[in-house]
């Protein structure tokens, strides 16, 4: 029997906190008519959940993918029944039992669909000359529109310093949102997001003027770089285009050379912004030492990809987005089902991590966050720090809550701690202590 995921890993799959708390209520045998776990392949959990009607809901989870199915009417994904089943499993309360026929049918259906999709992909005809021409025309139009928008942004930035930035700390969101909206129209969503974020920088109190000028300045450098796009080395041009917000087709990413490794999923962060939820999975290659960021998006109520489970290892091929600093990636091929991860590595010192960060910024000046795995101790205080074995420290960002549970887990002894470095400090992702990876 495979080792069950822990409750943190299950919690990371929940689409929202209300689903998770509903699932906790369902994670008791009294709520189930029957349930079982089968080794597979694929590893499967199944259960018949008591619902409000007379017929129980059929819930099953493919643990290898992972994938979920439930006959309940919920549009959440995975639904509370699937989560409840997983929680029971993680608590050791799902007995081994062979799959009922409805579970086998589901597996068969999915296998059939996957085969068909594979066949469709294989059959795709190469583009006709006309289609290629039309695509090139669309791309050229977009480039024109973006170029116009970026030039306008450069003007707007210059206007800010001409008029003086004093007072912008009280300018309100409107000031930034209007400029951001124009960039959306100009199909430069990356720039739009950065301009929108300036509102928060401007209202960040003490020292806001320094931070705002720094951001306006780096943004102005981005507009300058875009104006010289044709002269830039290909890698760097891709970096600039990426930050401006040109779309990169999945096919283009998949066409890059894959990097195979045992990828350790050391952090999963969800960020809810208006109606859009962004899930960031931070991966670290055990053998290559490379870091990767896999993004997933969902609008409110929609299913978030939940296939990268915190604290597991995945032997897979990753393809990286083009650019000078390859960080963002997609999983192209999985070689095995995810396995529970051990102590993540390779870990570095603070100095080593900062030096790699400097290299990364040199290659991509607009890099916003950079993952680190450091062997060290967390020290609470007015400002928290991560201190490595050499006594070198980095400030830790605690705006989202102080990770006291990690202090308790590590008991003041050095542990591999992963985090994401940003100008205002290291955002802690997880720590490995007491034989498990603990999420911040």
């Amino acid at each position: 029997m495979r080792e069950a995921w822990n409750s943190d890993q299950v919690a990371a799959l929940a689409p929202d906190s209300s689903s998770l708390s509903a699932a906790r209520g369902l994670a008791t045998p009294a709520k189930w008519v029957d349930r079982g776990a089968a080794d597979g392949p694929p590893g499967t959990l199944w259960g018949l959940a008591k619902g409000s009607g007379s017929k129980p809901y059929q819930t099953c989870v493919d643990l290898d993918e992972p994938a979920y199915r439930c006959s309940c009417p919920s549009r959440k994904f995975p639904c509370k029944h699937a989560l409840g089943l997983l929680l029971m499993w993680s608590a050791g309360s799902v007995p081994e039992a062979a799959n009922p026929t409805w579970v086998d049918e589901w597996h068969a259906n999915r296998a059939g669909r996957a085969a068909k999709a594979e066949a469709r992909r294989a059959n795709t005809e190469p583009q006709t000359e006309e289609q290629a021409k039309a695509a090139a025309k669309r791309a050229a139009q977009r480039e024109d529109r973006v170029t116009g928008g970026v030039a306008e942004l450069g003007q707007w930035l210059d206007d800010q310093v001409r008029n003086g930035i004093a007072g912008l700390d009280h300018a309100g969101y409107q000031h930034w949102d209007t400029a951001a909206a124009r960039l959306i129209d100009a199909q430069a969503p990356g720039l739009a997001r950065r301009v929108k974020a300036l509102a928060g920088v401007a209202s960040s109190r003490e020292g806001w003027d320094q931070r705002l000028l720094a951001d306006l300045g780096t943004l102005r450098l981005l507009t300058r770089a875009h104006a010289r796009l044709a002269e830039l080395p290909a890698d760097f041009a891709d970096t600039v285009r990426g930050h401006v917000g040109y779309p990169v087709s999945t096919d283009r990413v998949l066409a890059t050379a894959p990097v195979r490794d045992v990828w350790q999923i050391v952090g999963v962060q969800d960020e809810v912004e208006e109606r859009l939820t962004t899930r960031r999975a931070w991966l670290l290659g055990r053998d290559t030492g490379r870091s990767a960021l896999v993004l997933a998006f969902a609008v409110a109520g929609q299913a978030l990809a939940a296939d990268l489970v915190f604290g597991t290892n995945l032997d897979a091929d990753l393809c990286f987005y083009p650019g000078a600093t390859a960080l963002r990636a997609i999983v192209s091929t999985r070689h095995t089902a995810p396995t529970p991860g051990g102590s993540p590595g390779p870990a570095t010192t603070v100095r080593e991590a900062l030096s790699r960060h400097a290299d990364a910024v040199a290659a991509d000046p607009w890099l916003e966050s950079w993952p680190m795995l450091i062997d060290g101790v967390l020290a609470p205080g007015a400002t928290w720090h991560l201190i490595d074995r050499d006594g070198d420290a980095l400030p830790v960002r605690t705006r989202g809550g102080e990770p006291w549970h990690l202090i308790g887990a590590a008991a003041g002894r050095p542990a591999p701690i992963s985090g994401v470095w940003a100008p205002d400090g290291l955002q802690i992702l997880s720590a490995y202590a007491d034989g498990e990876l603990v999420q911040a």
């Binding site: 822990n6 800010q160 310093v161 000028l213 720094a214 549970h405 008991a411 003041g412």
Partner: protein, 509 residues
């Protein structure tokens, strides 16, 4: 020497280049490569600022002046089994059920087990809001928990609870401390040497402000003895009513005091027995001596003033007063009382029995059905549960069984029984409580389940031994299955709760 570049950039950007031209910025030689053509335009200013910001971002240095925390000593408690650890983590998730956490902690403490380090902080946060869980949490915290709690200002209680009782014996606390510190010091001193502590108090008493005098009276309850009587008699003449009331209460708790004799004499004159009947004579007035002894002249609303004086006198008199009536407490509790004074007399006796913690009287009053039936007032029901608390553990269970079998027992009393009876409960008590719930549910006038009964059900399931309660709850649910949808829903939630508790127990096996 030229001024540093960055401050010039910031100050120029703040006022705006239309007021202060960008060209006025001087670029230090070392920075020349950042702005090779000088700073002539707004774009130059921004790009130079951007380049400088990037240089700083890439060149962030390590901090070297932070000292590493001292690590925790080796753990002293073995951890709870893996399944139990997982359970705790589930329990500490979003909506915390403090009763389930209490069960978990109790099982862990009984077995001398600890919790994983990662869960300590969540437990401490829970303990901050739930006073009653603190002792248990402090016990499962272990060395590592104490180490962790010492680093957080909100978790100081973990350390203090771990050291079973704390003594405050720094004399500076007495001379310079805040009220709470001074009371703590005085309490510790009373535990050690009541007479010495009293003389410390008398030395400063007259100079103390009223608020401090009121607070310090509480410390005298510790080590109360005949040596305190003179001081307390004098305190009956204090300027503040709170001090006078506290003094009267303490004197009432001091066997053989003059105060007690005065109250006994007053009370004895008011109740007499003729054959199988008790006769009550109400006092004519509330004189100065009565007022000095703490009798409140103004009655609470709905009570006549003479009946009110009577009730206070009987409640303050020692139980030995009634030996003169030549009957056992059991007999007195059931005798008829002339002129409808029965409820008043019995309420006063109940109050006195609670005050003096007299188990014989408490038992007699409860056996006589005090606080049962539809006429029982809210005060009577409260008093009945207080009487029940006076009983020693084994007697409390027998009395509980008797009360539950009695007709007219109130749901509130049954709920009180849940925490009065010491745990683990004997099987018959669990059965009797379930029987009580069943009778109440079947007797409900409409199909709704009264809120009180829902609470009682949860309290019983939370308090009974998990092994007994799972089977009992399921049996009751089956027997009540077709009564009403509301009852079915209630029973479903109780069955789930009972199952969960049973699983938690199993996980410690």
């Amino acid at each position: 020497m030229t001024a540093a570049l960055w401050p010039q950039l910031v100050s120029t950007a703040l006022v705006g280049t239309q007021r202060r031209a960008a060209a006025t910025i001087t670029v230090p030689e070392a920075m020349a490569s950042l702005a090779s053509g000088g700073i002539a335009s707004d774009a130059d200013l921004l790009e130079t600022a951007g380049a400088l910001a990037l240089a700083r971002r890439a060149g962030v240095g390590v901090t070297t002046d932070v000292t590493s925390p001292v690590p925790s000593a080796a753990d002293d408690l073995p951890l709870a089994p893996t399944a139990a650890q997982r359970r705790l983590r589930l329990l500490l998730g979003t909506s915390v059920d403090a009763d389930l956490v209490e069960l978990w902690l109790t099982l862990a403490v009984e077995r001398g087990l600890g919790v994983p380090g990662r869960d300590l902080a969540n437990l401490f946060r829970l303990g901050r809001a739930n006073e009653r869980l603190r002792d248990l949490i402090a016990q499962v915290a272990g060395v590592r928990g104490a180490w962790l709690a010492a680093q957080h200002k909100d978790w100081v209680w973990v350390g203090t609870r771990r050291a079973a009782t704390i003594d405050v014996d720094d004399p500076a606390m007495w001379t310079e401390g805040a009220i709470a510190d001074r009371v703590a010091y005085l309490t510790t001193a009373r535990r050690r040497d009541p007479a010495e502590a009293l003389s410390s108090l008398t030395r400063v008493w007259s100079a103390e402000p009223p608020a401090e005098r009121i607070a310090m009276m509480a410390a005298l309850r510790v080590g109360l003895g005949p040596g305190d009587e003179e001081f307390l008699e004098a305190a009956l003449d204090d300027r503040r009513k709170e001090v006078r009331t506290a003094a009267a209460e303490l004197l009432g708790a001091l066997p053989g005091s003059a105060y007690e004799r005065r109250m006994a004499a007053r009370a004895a004159a008011l109740v007499s027995r003729t054959g199988k009947k008790l006769v009550v004579t109400l006092p004519e007035e509330c004189d100065a001596a009565m007022k000095r002894d703490g009798v409140e002249p103004k009655p609470r609303s709905g009570t006549g003033e003479r009946a009110w004086w009577f009730e206070q006198i009987v409640a303050a008199a020692p139980m030995s007063t009634w030996d003169g009536l030549d009957a056992t407490p059991g007999e007195l509790a059931t005798l008829k009382v002339a002129d409808d004074f029965g409820p008043t007399l019995r309420r006063a006796w109940a109050t006195a029995a609670v005050r003096t913690r007299d188990a014989i009287w408490a038992e007699a009053m409860l056996a006589a059905g005090f606080g049962t039936g539809s006429k029982a007032s809210y005060v009577d029901i409260e008093l009945a549960t207080s009487l029940h608390r006076v009983l020693p553990a084994d007697q409390a269970v027998d009395t509980a069984l008797a009360r539950l079998a009695m007709s007219g027992t109130q749901v509130a009393h049954a709920t009180a029984i849940v925490d009065i009876c010491p745990r683990p409960w004997p099987r018959p008590l669990t059965t009797a409580l379930f029987g009580f719930i069943e009778t109440e549910l079947r007797g409900a006038r409409n199909s709704y389940v009264p809120y009180q009964l829902r609470e009682l059900g949860q309290a019983v399931v939370n308090a009974a031994p998990p092994g007994d309660v799972a089977a009992d709850t399921a049996a009751l649910a089956a027997s009540l299955a077709d009564l009403s949808p509301h009852i079915t829903t209630l029973m479903e939630s109780l069955v789930t709760l009972a199952d969960t508790r049973y699983q938690i127990l199993q996980e410690f096996a």
